[in-house]
Amino acid sequence: MRHVEQVMGTAVSIELADDLPTATLASLVDHTVAWLHEVDRRFSTYKDDSEVNRMQRGELTVADCSADLRQVLITCSDLWRETEGYFDVHATGRIDPSGYVKGWSVEVASRWLAANGSTNHCINAGGDIRTRGGPAPGWEWRIGVRHPWKADKVAWVISGHDLAVATSGVYERGEHVIDPVRGRPATDLRSVTVVGPDLGRADAYATAAMAMGDAGLRWLAGLDPAGYSSATVASDGKAFTSRRLPVAALAA
């Protein structure tokens, strides 16, 4: 069963590949979609009464916010250190954990689905993907990494069963990722894809490496032994992959 939901300012594609009754699959999709909207309501910086905005205004403290938000903020501060300050939820001058929340919410959804009967699914939230199991018994999921200059082509195909694949990038003139350390657009890299076990972290790492620019290449190489492999395209068209990247062999 497939479903596309407009939520969190983007399109989320949900594919459940389990051999389950249609009504069961529909109910699983409904629950997933409801959770994503709940996350949007509670964590969006665009919604005036979201928990995040109430905390920004000082109406909510870390002590009395929800356990979810507290855990998100703790992980974000871990990520700030792990990325040497390049993943920064305060970069815009206010608290904005959106760079982690999207991946985290999909990670939570995928875990919930697995616990409730769907062990074969693929969720794509605006280009950040979490897969489990496979599209059919015995098959691995095949995830294309968008070519940064050619929207209808892919630069790599990543394959596997349980994958988190997150990409940060700039494809068109005028788009940019801000380097929060130097406070200017980061232009060395065109796109960074990080593959690993957790989508929230993979997303934060990809964003941080993008902001680091050329220095991010070395940092990404170091991420590989820790379980997060990567595929990067620099602005000059050079491509860099880390050792453990699960690249699928191309069909001729």
């Binding site: 983007t10 605006g126 280009g127 968008r146 892919v154 190489a221 880390s242």
Partner: protein
């Protein structure tokens, strides 16, 4: 890669850091470092003070309270790397005749980074980016808006499968 557990700051690092700014004015008795001074590095050769005849100052002099300082222990001593919520720091002190003559704190690129980076410097494979058509289930790319989704390869895949 979780947050490192904060280590207990040893008296060596603690004393040297607290007093660091005033070190040149107030030499600290080496005894304050107790037996926790870890590995001596370059003993007896670094930064020997050019102050012949200088005696340890203050009541708690090295000679009085130090265990092995009767001979005026000298050398450079490096503390363990200590991790606090702001990162890792390692303090090195230079001792001459039982007095700390110099202390420096290094902020090594290890600790949290080391957990990620590992001991060796790993490398990336380099090539030129290739454009492929491939049979895929989903596409990873920079976040699209609801609007740009409509023109994306992912939208085409969803339409084909819906």
């Amino acid at each position: 890669m979780r947050r490192s557990t904060a280590a207990v700051v040893g008296t060596l690092a603690g004393a040297a850091m607290l007093l660091g700014v005033r070190l040149s004015a107030t030499p600290v008795a080496v005894a304050a470092t107790g037996s926790q001074a870890t590995e001596p590095v370059d003993s007896d050769q670094v930064d020997r003070p050019a102050k012949p005849g200088r005696k340890p100052s203050g009541g708690a002099s090295a000679a009085d309270s130090g265990g092995d300082s009767s001979s005026g222990r000298s050398g450079r001593f490096r503390g363990d790397t200590v991790t606090n919520p702001y990162g890792s720091v390692r303090v090195t002190i230079t001792v001459a005749d039982g007095e700390i003559t110099r202390a420096s704190a290094a902020y090594p690129n290890e600790g949290q980074s080391a957990a990620i980076n590992g001991p060796a410097v790993p490398q990336l494979n380099e090539s030129a980016v290739k454009a492929q058509d491939a049979d895929i289930d989903s596409v990873s790319g920079a976040t699209y808006t609801s609007d740009s989704y409509r023109k994306s390869l992912q939208a085409a895949i969803d339409r084909a499968g819906l």
